[in-house]
Structures are given as C-alpha cells and as structure tokens.
Symmetry: C2
Subunit: 158 residues, 2 copies
C-alpha cells in the first residue's frame, strides 16, 4: 500500500494509522539500539497510568486500559518479572494487590519520554515545527469531541 495523497479526501484514518506505526517503529528502533527491551504500547500505558496515579490495583488498571482484570493482571505480572513494577499486598484491603513502579520502571519511563521527544523533534525537522503542532492540535480536537464525556479509546480496532 503506497502512502496516499494527503490532499485526497477520505484518507485521514489511513494516514494516522501509518503515522502511528512509523513513529512506534522508530521508537522501538531507538530503544533496541540502546539495549532496552522494547515493551509494547500496552506496557507503556501502564507506566503512564502508574506515574500519573501513583499506585493502582490490577482492576483499576484494566478499567483504564479497557481490558479485563485478567488481561491487566497478566501485563502487570510480565512487567514485574522484568523488574519494572512491584506487586505488594494492599495495606488495608487484604484482597487487593497494589502495583507501583520500581526505580527501574521510573528510569524506563524517563528514558522513553526522552526518546519520544527526540522522535517528535525529528518529525518537526522534517515537516516543520508549526505543522507538527498544528497536526497534534487538530487530531486532539477530533479525539476530544469524539470522546465526549468519556475517556478516549486507545487500542486500534484492526
């Protein structure tokens, strides 16, 4: 599939999909080059959620990611095995398990943030600083409107 003419109507979704793929490919390329395990986007979102909320249970994680508890738990267990997060008993509720980033996890997040910023600078160098900002703003406008009250969905329907 060749990249569509951006002036042509109706190719927006296609372009966004290709853009997402190209950016994440670049991200993994850089990550791998530095010896980091290239985790999948789902893991990255767990990192961001934990960074934002501090500590969460698997159930809360699942709700944020639009995943079942079971799926969220499995991702969390994977990350624990890699040493990126810790699972500890909840201090007040003995049913629950509290997930939190380890130092290694926070390091990974910081590094990932730096890489994303770098990739975005690469994009800006190519397409122009304002063009990239305008693109992000335009997409954000649609996403916000589409999400309405709710939370915008992440995972692509494929």
């Amino acid at each position: 599939m060749t990249s569509p003419d951006p002036a042509r109507r109706g190719t927006a979704a296609l372009l966004l999909a290709m853009g997402f793929r190209a950016l994440t490919d670049r991200f993994h390329e850089l990550l791998r080059a530095e010896g980091y395990e290239p985790l999948r986007p789902a893991h990255g979102f767990i990192f961001r959620l934990l960074e934002e909320h501090g500590e969460l249970t698997a159930t809360q994680l699942g709700a944020h990611l639009e995943l079942t508890r079971q799926a969220a738990t499995r991702l969390a267990v994977e990350l624990e095995q890699w040493g990126y997060l810790s699972r500890a008993p909840h201090p007040r509720d003995r049913r629950a398990t509290v997930l939190a980033l380890t130092a290694r996890g926070r390091d990974y997040v910081a590094h990932a943030d730096a890489l994303w910023a770098r990739i975005e600078r690469e994009w800006a160098a190519l397409a122009g600083e304002q063009a990239v900002t305008a693109a992000k703003t335009a997409v954000a406008a649609y996403v916000e409107q589409a999400a309405g009250e709710g939370v915008p969905s992440l995972r692509p329907v494929w």
Copy 2:
C-alpha cells in the same frame, strides 16, 4: 487515559493512535446505522488493493498487506462468503486463483469512500479545513521518510 495536551512533547504517537481509533469508530457507527456489515480495516485494504490493481492472487494480496498467504486467503474467503469478491481460476496458471471485486464489492467501496469523505468533513468542521490538510500533510511527510524506498506499514504494533 485522558486526552493529552497537544503542546506537550512526546504525545504524538498517542494522539495518532487515538485519532485513528476515533475516526474508525465513527466510520463503523455510520456504516452500522445504514445496515452495512462493518468489516474490519484489513478487509477495507483488500478492497482498495483490488480497486487499484484490478485483480490479484492471494499471495500478492498477502505481500501487500504484510501477511502470510494463508492469512490473506482466509480474509479473501470471508469476503467471498459475504459476496464482496469473487475467486476464479487463473486463465493461464492453473495453480492460481484470481480475486476480483464483485459489483456488490465495488458498491461497498464507493459507499465507504463517501463515508470517509464525510467523516473528514466533520473533522474539518471541527478543527478547520487547513488544519486538517496540514495535519495530513505533516503525517504523510513522516510516513514517507520513514518508509524510505519501501512500502509504509499499516498494521499497528500493539
């Protein structure tokens, strides 16, 4: 996951993913409202390839979609069962099967194109005509550069 501040660095990929998701959700919503079966993006890409190239074999399809021939065949069989494409023996090569859109398939494609154009107009009404064009151009620039000589990838890594 709340929609990130578009000015913040490092959220570009996230935004593109959410944008793609929001646009395809809208597409499926419209399609369903009119009684069309909401096929998945992969089916849509087969339609576009067949429209562009006329006729293809499953193997060629697989190559374009970055899929094994087995996976491509399965998608084609599904579409045949829905009546959107025909599978006929190749006139010169008795090993091969030629895939082509049926009238029903061409109708679906035409309708899908109209819907995508409509969705893009909705986006333009929200974010501004030039902003949307600029966004598409900026994304296309990155995709093209990233693809280099090759063909840009479609399917998101998740």
